[in-house]
Each structure stands twice: as C-alpha cells, then as structure tokens.
Symmetry: C2
Subunit: 601 residues, 2 copies
C-alpha cells in the first residue's frame, strides 16, 4: 500500500516571525503525517518565518538562526517521511543579498538537500528581492528522487514566467522550462494571497504548464491572514493533461491528503475565486460573483488579526448606515456576537430612522448595544471651539467662512468614546468603518470614523458593499439580519445639512454618484487610465443616465483633486485586508504625500 | 576661455511626481548655465520624476510619457551645452521590469545617448528593483566624449560596489571597474538622502575610487525634502589623488559652478555630516557632533513638507515639556514665528512651572500663544465615560481595575482642539510631538500626542533631544529661547500620579532611564543585537550607575514587550523625517503587527 504515494499538503496558517509557533505547528503536522503513513509532506513557502515577514530579517537577523535550529528539531522527528519546508537560508558568500528564499528537503532525519528560489517578485505586496539573493538554477539543483519518482521543486514565482503563456515576462529565465523536462512531478510551495480575479489566472497558468510538460503539478499555499494579507489555500494537483485532480479547501487550514495516482477529493472553490479573466477587462456593477470570496477573506482577516494580536472583542459606532452595518455583521461572524459592542451615538443630525435601524440591526445580530447621545458634548465642544477660534482669529485673520469643523467634531467625539472603551476593557479594539470609495475621496475624518485598530472594509467600494449586505442577508444562517431600510436609503454621513436642499447632506451630493465614482477607481486600478482616457471612455453610469460631458468632467476634476489631498489619510489609515485586484492598502501602494501628479496624461 | 571646461552641478529640489514642475526647474537651470557659458550641466538621478517617487509609475504609467515629452522640450532649448538628466525610461522589450533608471545625454539640441543604471538598490528607503530593470553594462554604453575628454556615467548605486572597499558586496558586478579604466572623468548623478554617519562612508568610498582609478570623480545630489527623506546636496568633485577639489553647499539648492582643472570653492560641510565611521561602532551620549545636521535636516523637512503640500501654518500643544518645546523652535525656524500657534492646554496634572515655561518659550520665540484649560472638559468626559463604562460592564464584566483611560482622555482632548483649529484656519497643520524613544515604547496616545499632520522628531531619541535643545539655545541667532528649566526637569507626560511617590508620574518611572533606553534602541538599529546580546553587553548607563543584572533584565524584558505592542502605533504614525542611520520610519522599516518575535536570540 505504500506504493500509492500518499502525500500531504500542509496548508497551514503561520504567524509572521513567530518561529517557535511555526515550528511547533510543523512538527505536529509531520507527526500526524507519519501516523497516516504519508510518504511526503509539503509546507508553504518560507513557512518557518511566515508570510509576510516585513523587514524582520534585516533588523533581527538571529531569526534566521532560529529557523536553522528549528530545521534540526524538525529533522529529528521526521522518521519514515520526506518533508519539504520553506525557510530563509543565510547566504554565506561575499556577494549578494544576505538570504536565500529556500526549501529544505528532510529525509531519514537529515537535511538532504536545499532548493533555492530563483525568481524574486518585487511588486505590489511582494518584496522578495529586498532580502533574498536570486539563486542560479540548473536541472540538477531542483530535482530529488523518492521511490523512483523524480520531483522538481519550483518555488512560487519560479512558476510564473512561461514565455508563451504571458505576453510580457518579468525575468529572462523560465525555471519551469529548466526543471519540468527533467522531472515527473512538480512541487510548488507558495505563499499567494487572495485578490480579486487572481485564482483564475493561477489556475489557467498551472493547468497550462502541467499539460505543456506532460507532468503532474502540485501546489501548496498558506492559509489564514497576517495583518493585511489573506491566503486562500486551495492547494491542489493538476494531472499530465492539465486537469485538476485534487484540491484542498479555500482559506481554511487543512492537512490535505491525496495520492499521486488515483481519485482524490476536489473541494469546491469559494465562489468568487473562479471569476473569469474576461471580467477583468470591463467594469461591472454586478459584484455578486465576487461576494462570497470577499466575505470569507474579510472574516478570516478579522479573526486572525484579533487572535494573533491577543484581542477578542470589538467596539464600533453603529450609525444605521451601510458601512458600520456591514462591519458589524462581519465582526459578529468573525468574533462571535457576544464579543461585539455596537454604540449608537446620535448627534443633532441623526434621524430617528437611523437610530432605530442601528438598534434593529444589533438586535438581529445579537450583539451588545447601547445608545450614547453626543449632542450635548458636541454643543459644548462647539462653544469651547468658538472661544478658541475667536482668540486665534486675533492673530490669524483668515478664518474660513465655511468650515468642516462642526462635521468633524461629531466624528471625533464618537471615536473618542470608542477608544475610551477599548482602553477600559481588556482585549478590545475599536473598528474603523471607512470604505474604499470614501477613502479615495478623503471623505473620512482623521481621528474620527477612519480611526480604529483595524479597518475591515477599507478595500471594498461602496457599490460592492451594497451587494455584500444583500448577499449576507440571503446567505447567512440567520436571514435578513440587516434591515432593508439600511440597504435602501442613500448613504449619508449625517454630519451636515445640504444648503441647497435644506435636507441632510447625502454623500453623493458631496462627492458624485457612487456608481460613477467606483468606476473611476476601477479604471485607475485595473486599466491605469488617465483623466483624459476616462473623459473619452463610456462609463456604465453614462449608458444608464443622460449626463452632460461638462458634468462628467466636473466629477473627474473633483475626483483627482480630492485624491491628491487624500494621500495623507491613506498614510495613517489602520491596517485593512487587501481584497481587490489592486488597492490603496499601504502594503501594496505608496504615493508620496507631497507628490503632485498631472493626471491628465 | 571655453577650454576651462566650466561645469554646473544642478543640485536642485524636485517635487515627487510633479513632472511639469521639475521640467520647468530643469529648463530654467539650463538657461542660466548657457548664460554662464558652461559646457556641461548635470542633474541628479531621476530628476524629472523626483525622488522618492513611491509607486506612481506603476499606477500612473503616463508619467513616463510626460517625462519623455519633457526631455524633448528640454532638448529644444539646450543649445551650446551638454545636459545630463535623469528620468524613467520605458523598457519596450518582452523581458524585464517596465522601466530603466536612465540618464539622457542631450547635446546639440538632441538626445544623443541614454545611460541605464545597472545596480538597483532595494533596501531601507530604496526600492529601485521594484520598478526598474537592471541594465547590462559595457565600457562603451557608459562613456561619452566632450571636447576630447572621456566622461564615464555611473548612476548612484553603480558606484557603491567596490570589491576591495567593502567586505561584503550586494552585487557581482562592479560598474566602476568596467567604466573607470576607459574614462577620464566619472560623472555620478545621485539621489542620496541624509542619514547619520552616511556622509563619511560616502566620502571615503568616492575618494578611494578616484585614487584607485586615477580619475576625477564628480557627484551630484538632490537637495530638499519630499515627505520623509531629506537630501543633503553636497555635490562635489574628487581629483585623481582622491582629494576633494570642489564641493557645493549642504542641503540647499544650488547651481554649483566649477572647473575641471583649477581651483574651486569647497563649501564647508554642515557639522555632523563629517562624523567619523568609528562612532558607528560605539554608543555615545555625546550627540553634539551630529546636532547641526539633525537641526538642518528637520528644518528642511518641515519647510518642504509644508510648502510642497500648500500649507504654511502649524499649531501645536505646548506642554512646557521637552518634545513640544523642540518642535516649537524647529517650526518657528522653518515656517516663521508668525505662522506657529502654541496652545497651552493644562489639565489637573499640569504644574504651574509647566504652564509658565510654555508661555515663556512662546514669548521668547515670538510665536502666537493662547491657553485653553481642558480640566473641565476632561472632568465632563470622565463623567460621561463612567456612565458608558457602567453600562458596558453589564455585558462585559472584566473592566480593568486600573486603566489608562483617564491619562488618554487628556491627550485626546488636546489633539481634538488642535485638529479643530487646523480645520477652521486655512493651510494649517497640527503637529505630532512624539519622539523616537517613546514611540519605541508605544508611550504615546493614539489620536493624542502622536496625532498630527507631520511628526518632526519621531526619529530623534530623547537624550539627543536634550542635546538639540542645548545646541539651539547656543547657536540660534536668538540665544537661550528655551527656558533652562525645560531642559533641566525630568520628562513627564503629566497625565497621572505615581502611586508609589504620590507625585507626578515621570516618564522614566513608567519606562526606564532614557540613557539606557536610547542605548537599547541604538544597539537594535546599529548592531542588530538580541536581548541576550544586550544582557551580556556593557551599557554606558551601567558604567556610570550601579545596577543589578536583574534590574537590567527587567528593563530589557519591558522594552521588548512594549515594543511588540507599539507596532500598531508605528503603522499609523504621521510622516516624519528620517534622521538616524536606521529608523522605524515606515519608508524604511516594516514589521507585521501580528508578528511575534522571540527577541532572545
């Protein structure tokens, strides 16, 4: 029965830079694999140090020693099994970066061979070349034999450079072309985070390579989240025809067991992972196809951020609006309803509908709820401010005729209450409820709604949040937890009156229609379009509504002007999970605050 | 007279990603150079896009087109002069990163030749390999001739890889060894930011290379600051014996004019730039040798951050303590006293000495000043909090017996006043006064003292701030602006009472002696030591004071424990100038918040 070549993919969730924790997890997985009489167990890339690792190796180089000592401990318990485990290996030569991104093969309780990564990604969330030396590759230094089968080792990015599959290639070497012709099976340890539309590309590419070389292709990915990056697991195997022949679960930890030749379990993808690439080329307001993935990714991100940091409770303001509502549901699902406290903090602008919506939502979710009116505090602060401002006006005589000061007092008073609660109760974090559409516009108050320990929806645009709310109402065990009126009413910060209408200022009046705004964001992130490109493009919103070109130009001008002053806010926004194909999350995108781009073209 | 080979080093201050602005600056400099009958004008590396550029090329690729169009405009006015100007050049091949880090040679109104950078730094604040393809180098593709002189072009990092000068080399190619033997003069456009102890290394290395190859070595650097990075200029020439034979001013913009053969002006270095490398190996509490550089760098950083972002005024809380005092002086010097507003915001813990110190400082500096007592607001907030907390306690029954909530209310109430003023008066930024020692310890209040539009001293440790205060008192035109009592009194946040002494809680009671704390930080940043290494090291503080090893161990344990919980604060700290050799500034160092490092070893 040994001949069936049972393999285990250790699709596990490491903690960044916690070598001891990751080592213990590794040892426990190997012991289980030995019990199950597996021949081989494969861990994700750099598993001992855990992705993403930031700059910890540079500042704390003894972490590499910790990893080396861990390897020895791991070897000691690895009897009757082969182990492939990723770790940062010290480069002891005169030349090059201080480390290699390596995978050790442990066999017969010894480190038998080391495989070193050649292609080092250094874009978006990846920084491999910052720490690692690209290794020279030969057919020999990437192959090992086990029971007569030749395994070739390809480490993550090493597999992403086929000269035919891609129109453009980042590197002049294709490791697959060197390794695959000399191997029977490709083993690919990876740490590949979930982003919109990435899974389909990954699938197409791996399937293409398996078929092209007539080879089995095995891929093992990390699970769980560290800070901003959520790893979607879905480790798998393709057969020699490029057909998917084994697949682990999405996002979750799993010791996935399968055989090289034979029938294996193919777990279904979380909906959203399978999105076709075509959808990348056109903007759509139909966000539903990506919603389940979005939901699971954010839930995983919250849950891991809290538990890995030793927190268990969240407190957030419940305004009765969409952003805080969606956050509350996600928090309740990630942390348990009893660990979430929703605070309704009505000011003079808060409608009774908003108040009752917030309360109804809390009741439906079963989260804790209190109301703390802030009207009196805001009035007091306004009075205090007025005295201060009059004093200052004596020296600085150009006080604004019309300012946002009062709007902001409300948001800041609320945040102060939330941080106070977090200071007073153990293991509690306040939540920043800003969404991506509004962050692009800088439509968020510093030390107000954009402040918190974590920002769950900072990479989700407003139109997608509506879809997420609808999807949660239909698909959570408890149906319709979100009151319909929250989904139906137009978004408003409820901070001011619209002087033209005399009614509450709606966000779309202050900004522009969200359907238009979200397409501008999409065009920047996915097509890298300039203002000029967009002016001549056909927006979905234009197809549905008659708008004058001067109105469109006005919106675009406003967008890019606001964008420029939003850069500071991006710099101080709390950590948030990366969700979209591209984002303004600091782990991926940085624009100098002083920069002054001409977005025209 | 043409034969004297007059050269101009355009040591200028670009704005990140403002191609139009940088182009106009370039054209105006070239016109002046033509008037002066210079043969050659050299601009810093990537001058048209401006360093640092962040990820703007990735997201807004049309900036590269803007640069190409700018080059053509520049060529049109470049009559009777050769121009060397840096820009991002599109890589049109199938392979590689999308751009080259290039320098164009413009002659006879035409782009005559393009030189491409080979060594791409990707460490600390540098991210070249994220965007640029490393160019293949030959003696031919780096040389041009002008009036019978052969100039070799070396772009910044290209010059930092001599195999003898350095014990370890990041790259296997040494461009200098390829170019220098075939050239008479080396021209090195650079963008090299100021950091403690970097200038001496740079000087030694360039002087070594000039002598080694018996060649003239000309280096031109950027001036001014963009966000966090301050460029120190000091463009220069070494002669064939490695002797400094021309040098521009430090930090300031200058069109520095000199001749290849003949006597040139050697401007003095700002004190601090010339620090010897030996001082890198040992910790010293004598910060004076680096103080002038620190002062000029921060002043430049503030001034450029404000002006490039369209701000002109700063408002800050004046507590009468060291941090806000040093910030106030720097702001007054960078922005003009009339543009600074100091607000004294005494609470119940503020001593009358602190109040009068703040007032005296403001008077001495001539900045605007008012007092806004916050005691009543804090009391009101405390009451409000108590009601809220009692309500919450009904659901969450583990309220802290002793919390920092009250301490934090004070800091947050103050910050709220500052942000309110910034919202109410045009072009005004509030200032975050946190220092580096306290940020390492997380000894800063979120949305409190660590909140602001800019954080001038976030990379300066406390013991160095004392030195800076003393130096400013001695060296500013107006002597002793800082009341001596501010420098003499022990630091305290004045937020709480020490229960043991019954007196105001001093920072050193809450943390540990600053002299010890600052050495721990220095050992991490400069020696990468672990807790174990430090336990067996001889600290300066230990030499001066008798302390038990258990006390030392207690401090180190506390340090690393606090460090781990400070990571979130580093993530949201406002932009601040990089000053030290290493820092926790986000542009250089990132550690995942969930990370859990065993700092023992």
């Amino acid at each position: 029965m040994d001949k069936i070549n049972k393999i285990i993919l250790a699709q596990l969730n490491p903690i960044s830079a916690d070598v001891e924790y990751n080592k213990n997890k590794t040892i426990s997985a190997i012991k289980k694999a030995i019990e199950k009489k597996a021949k081989l167990i494969i861990f994700p890339e750099l598993f001992l140090i855990g992705y993403p690792m930031g700059d910890v190796l540079t500042r704390y180089p003894y972490l590499a020693d910790q990893c080396e000592r861990a390897l020895i401990e791991i070897a000691e318990i690895s009897e009757n099994i082969a182990v492939l485990i990723g770790y940062p290996e010290k480069n002891k030569e005169k030349f090059g970066k201080p480390y290699y991104n390596s995978v050790a093969l442990i066999k017969n309780k010894k480190i038998e061979k080391i495989f070193r990564k050649t292609l080092l990604p250094n874009y978006s969330e990846h920084n491999d070349y910052r720490y690692f030396e690209p290794a020279k590759i030969t057919p020999q230094n990437r192959i090992f034999e086990l029971d007569g089968i030749k395994y070739g080792v390809i480490i993550c990015e090493d597999g992403w450079n086929d000269f035919e599959f891609f129109d453009k290639n980042l590197y002049e070497i294709d490791p697959m072309a060197i390794v695959a012709p000399n191997a029977d099976v490709i083993l690919c340890p990876a740490a590949s985070c979930s982003r919109a539309k990435k899974e389909q590309l990954k699938h197409n590419m791996m399937s293409y390579a398996a078929k092209k070389y007539g080879i089995k292709y095995i891929y093992v990915n990390q699970a769980g989240a560290n800070d901003e990056l959520v790893y979607d697991g879905t480790s798998r195997m393709y057969d020699e025809e490029g057909k998917l022949s084994a697949m682990a679960k999405s996002f979750e930890e799993e010791l996935y067991e399968f055989v090289l030749d034979g029938k294996n379990e193919i777990n279904p993808l979380i909906k959203g992972l399978e999105l076709t690439l075509n959808s990348q080329k056109e903007f759509s307001l139909d966000h539903m196809p990506d919603i389940e993935r979005t939901y699971v990714a954010i839930k995983t991100a919250i849950s891991d951020y809290f538990s890995k940091n030793g927190f268990k409770r969240a407190v957030l303001g419940l305004s009765g609006g969409l952003d805080s509502t969606v956050c509350a549901v996600l928090l309740a699902d990630a942390l348990g309803a009893e660990n979430v406290f929703g605070i309704s903090m009505p000011s003079g602008f808060t409608t009774s509908q908003s108040k009752s919506d917030a309360q109804e939502l809390a009741q439906n979710l079963g989260i804790n709820f209190i109301t703390v009116p802030i009207k009196d505090s805001v009035e007091l602060l306004k009075e205090k401010y007025n005295t201060i401002f009059s004093d200052i006006e004596k020296s600085w005589d150009n006080r604004y005729k019309k300012s946002y000061t009062t709007d902001n007092i409300q948001a800041r008073a609320r945040s102060m209450i939330l941080w106070g609660i977090a200071n007073e109760f153990p293991q509690t974090l306040p939540i920043a409820t800003s969404d991506k559409s509004e962050l692009y516009m800088g439509y968020a108050t510093i030390n107000g709604d954009m402040s918190g320990g974590y920002a769950p929806i900072a990479d989700v645009v407003k139109t997608k949040l509506f879809a997420l709310a609808r999807w949660m109402n239909e698909n959570r065990a408890q149906k319709n937890a979100i009151p319909e009126s929250i989904i139906l009413k137009p978004p408003t910060a409820e901070l001011a009156i619209n002087e033209e209408t005399g009614k509450i200022l709606l966000a779309e009046d202050a900004l522009m229609p969200y359907e238009f705004l979200d397409e501008v964001i999409w065009r920047i992130e996915n097509l890298n379009q300039s203002k000029e490109d967009m002016l001549s493009a056909d927006f979905l919103y234009e197809k549905k509504n008659n708008i004058d070109i001067s109105v469109k130009k006005g919106w675009l001008d406003k967008f890019f002007k606001r964008l420029n002053s939003a850069l500071y806010k991006w710099y101080i926004v709390p950590p948030s999970p990366v969700i979209d194909a591209r984002s303004i999350n600091k782990i991926e995108f940085k624009q100098p605050i002083v920069s002054n781009i001409n977005y025209d073209k």
